[in-house]
């Protein structure tokens, strides 16, 4: 910021006052857009404003958090049970993955730290899946695996201050006493200084006092079916759903959202907002006209003679052929 410290203090005090008048929190007021002078000129003249929030794309969720998940802080992501590891991990990576997309060519990797035990319990990161879901390619992921929690914390602390990483994921199981308020505060401060998020992924854990400003509890939601041209494909498993509960935030009241991950555009969408794709009722192929009838099928039709007369009309047959083509394939 180009503002001096004193001026900044005044602005903050005024914001607090306005917030009190409007009966809301200062963080929820719209941020002033006078950041033009705070832009740092980089090599090749590219401007890189400080990114402090990671918008998820789901409007209601972002609004509740005041614009998105904090981008330069420690964020806790909880899974209630070990078996929810897939959802909790998926949510953390869906926040970390888009950072890679935004940085463009000079990609800095994501570091995923865990103990041997947790990787045995919940599985190792699997690159083909990460690539398909979150666009994390082979050079973008570093995995640190150590037998002891203390060592994992040491690595996380060292990594949290490193600008050469896009995000740090520390995966912990349960309630270790080592990860107390002090330890999380150190992680948080370092993440703030480096301007990058640190995600604390806690499997099978309940809320505990930590220094993280935001805590999200993630549980799986059933996936919506795949969409085809013909509408939802019954029985199929489409984009993954997440039930995200904001458990701790300075701006948002505790509330649960159901989000859906769009793996192609790398954004979240609100489940209930998803509109049906426009239904196309017109003919798919223009009907042929002023032509001779198609040649009759060779041989004699023995069964279903009664229905045979119906299928004789050329336009109907073409419609039905298309429809058969697009008929949802039964899974299994």
């Amino acid at each position: 910021m180009a503002l001096s410290a004193v001026a900044q203090e005044t602005v903050l005090a005024l914001r607090r006052k306005i917030a009190r008048l409007e009966a809301t929190l200062p963080e929820r007021l719209a941020a002033p857009t006078d950041t033009a002078d705070a832009v740092v000129l980089r090599r090749h003249g590219a401007a890189r404003p400080e990114r402090l929030l990671l918008p998820t794309g789901a409007q209601a969720f972002d609004d509740a958090l005041g614009g998105g998940v904090p981008g330069a802080a420690l964020t806790e992501i909880h899974g209630a049970q070990i078996r929810d590891a897939g959802a909790a991990t998926g949510f953390a990576l869906s926040l970390a993955g888009p950072i890679l997309q935004r940085t463009g060519a000079a990609r800095a990797p994501i570091l995923w730290i865990g103990t041997t035990e947790i990787f045995r319990e919940t599985g190792l990161p699997y690159l083909p899946g990460l690539c398909g879901h979150f666009g994390i390619a082979s050079g973008d992921l570093l995995v640190a695996e150590v037998p002891k929690l203390v060592d994992a914390l040491w690595i996380a602390e060292e990594a949290a201050g490193l600008k050469a990483l896009s995000a740090v994921l520390l995966e912990i199981q349960g309630y270790p006493s080592k990860l107390d308020l002090t330890a999380t505060r150190r992680l948080h401060r370092r993440a703030q200084a480096a301007g990058r998020p640190v995600f604390l992924l806690r499997q099978a854990a309940m809320a505990e006092p930590t220094a993280a400003p935001v805590r999200l509890v993630v549980s799986p939601a059933s996936a919506s079916p795949r969409w085809t041209l013909n509408g939802p494909l019954a029985g199929s498993i489409g984009p993954p759903g997440f039930k995200v509960r904001i458990d701790k935030s300075r701006t948002a009241p505790p509330r649960q959202f159901t989000l859906e991950w769009n793996a192609d555009e790398h954004i979240f969408t609100d489940r209930r907002k998803q509109a049906l794709p426009p239904q196309d009722h017109g003919a798919v192929v223009s009907l042929s006209q002023h032509r001779a009838d198609p040649a009759p099928a060779p041989g004699t039709l023995l069964a279903f003679r009664a229905g045979g007369g119906k299928a004789a009309s050329p336009d109907k047959s073409s419609r039905e052929e298309h429809a058969a083509h697009r008929r949802p394939r039964r899974a299994g």
Binding site: T122, P128, G129, L130, C131, A137, S138, P240, F242, G332
Partner: protein
């Protein structure tokens, strides 16, 4: 002499079983310790060491001071050693075994050996007794005898040994460790005990190493710190770097991590009196031009240093890079490689990566057996299954995706796998597979849990 005879003569005698392995270990420790005199140390049988001190003697003030120093130190450690110093390994061996503590001047080998028995030539006993039976008892007699009949009757080895001892034929010793291209060391008058002392000395050594590396235009990839303890133990601490390294403070930090991780393992005992820093492997070092605005922070350098520190502390497998591998079997499709600078092959494979069908984001290293209670027979998804003692109801399933085993691998033939993407009643998504087919000859198929979806 048998044990009974020995006991009869000295009833209080202590009997200890021979332990060749322990003797060997002791000899190895001694050889390690002798590294302080020269990097070229070789074993000689089970009870001796060869030290090639070519070019090293002046570091200790000459041959005589070196030999005295060696004697004094070994004596203080409680060893009685006999050493000979000569221009050829053969002559030195003879001097050590038959005269003890003799320095043979250059050219003096002939005079030395002439008066010694044949055993001084390192001959096998059979040849020796044959020679003795014809009256050749001293090496001097052998030198005067005509060579051709000797070679004809006793074989070539005899003359080779003789020539080697006299320096007419080159003899090389085979050192037990490769020689480091660069080493710097510091002798300490007062042994040091504290980790801080060792670290600051390492930094000093790294500083003097930097000049050498710069002259050679190289950077170190593998560095070794040798700590010689006063009582003869030698600790070797090795760190490897993922990019060529030259900066003393970075080298110092790597050793700091390594020492911090092994503080319990490093026993300082009575202190270390010699510290040596060696570069075991080095590669050309390319300097990089910084720009004026210093806006081009070299991020990868930070990352490489971070990874090196993690590896120094927790071992090579502590920080790994995921790499796609050439296999269609899911658990073999990704390999975890120790962190290095980006490789070329990975990039090519990465371009091919995007999966054709959905893949889980987490994969169990070993597929976990699942008890399927009900499944659509013969080839449908499970309707209900038990995994880790919990029961799951399948709400929806996609599949099967059939993955055949890799027939080109040797070994027992695996059954075909049919993969299902399954969602349970709570919305959790799993990747299950059935190994084998219902109705196949090899018995009933088995089900496994392999991964978790987002």
């Amino acid at each position: 002499m048998g044990i009974a005879d020995a006991r009869a003569m000295h009833p209080a005698i202590e009997i200890v079983e021979a332990d060749p392995a322990a003797d060997r270990r002791l000899l190895e420790i001694l050889a390690d310790w002798c590294d302080r005199y020269t990097p070229l140390v070789a074993f000689d049988g089970t009870d001796g060491l060869f030290l090639d001190i070519t070019g090293c003697a002046h570091l200790l003030g000459g041959e005589k001071p070196l030999l005295d120093d060696l004697h004094a130190r070994f004596f203080r450690q409680g060893f009685d050693v006999r050493a000979g110093l000569a221009s050829t390994p053969g002559a030195a061996w003879a001097a050590a075994h038959f005269l003890g503590n003799r320095i043979v001047a250059e050219g003096g080998e002939q005079g030395l050996l002439a008066a010694l028995p044949l055993a001084a030539l390192r001959l096998d006993p059979a040849t020796r007794s044959e020679l003795e039976s014809v009256g050749l008892r001293l090496v001097g007699m052998l030198m005067q005898a005509p060579r051709a009949p000797l070679a004809r009757r006793f074989g070539k080895t005899l003359l080779i040994r003789l020539d080697q001892a006299l320096g007419q034929l080159e003899e090389t010793i085979s050192p037990r460790l490769p020689v480091a291209p660069l080493s710097v060391e510091r002798q300490l008058a007062e042994p040091i005990l504290l980790m801080e002392g060792i670290e600051s000395l390492t930094l000093l050594l790294a500083r003097s190493l930097k000049a050498d590396l710069e002259r050679r235009n190289e950077g170190a990839r593998i560095l070794q710190l040798l700590l010689f303890r006063v009582d003869g133990m030698v600790s070797r601490i090795t760190v490897s770097t993922s990019r060529p390294l030259r900066e003393p403070h970075l080298i110092g930090r790597l050793f700091h991590e390594k020492l911090a991780a092994m503080e319990h393992g490093l026993d300082a005992g009575c202190g270390f009196d010699l510290i040596r820093l060696s570069v075991l492997s080095s590669v050309p070092f390319e300097g990089q031009q910084a720009d004026l605005a210093s806006s081009m922070e070299d991020k990868s350098e930070d990352l490489a240093l971070f990874a090196d520190r993690v590896r120094a502390r927790h071992g090579d497998r502590a920080i790994m890079r995921c790499q796609p591998a050439e296999s269609h079997i899911p658990e073999r499709a990704v390999s975890f490689m120790p962190f290095t600078e980006a490789g070329g092959k990975a990039e090519i494979l990465a371009a091919r990566m995007p999966a054709r069908s959905p893949r889980p984001i987490r994969l169990f290293a070993h597929p976990e057996p699942v008890e399927v209670i009900a499944a659509e027979i013969p080839e449908g998804p499970p309707a209900r299954f038990r995994w880790r003692r919990a029961l799951y109801e399948v709400a929806r399933a996609e599949g099967p995706e059939r993955i055949a085993p890799e027939w080109w691998r040797a070994g027992p033939e695996e059954a075909t796998r049919d993969y299902f993407h399954v969602e349970d009643a709570d919305g959790r998504r799993y990747w299950l597979f059935r190994q084998g087919l219902y109705g196949a000859r090899q018995g009933n198929p088995r089900w496994f849990m392999q991964g978790l979806f987002a």
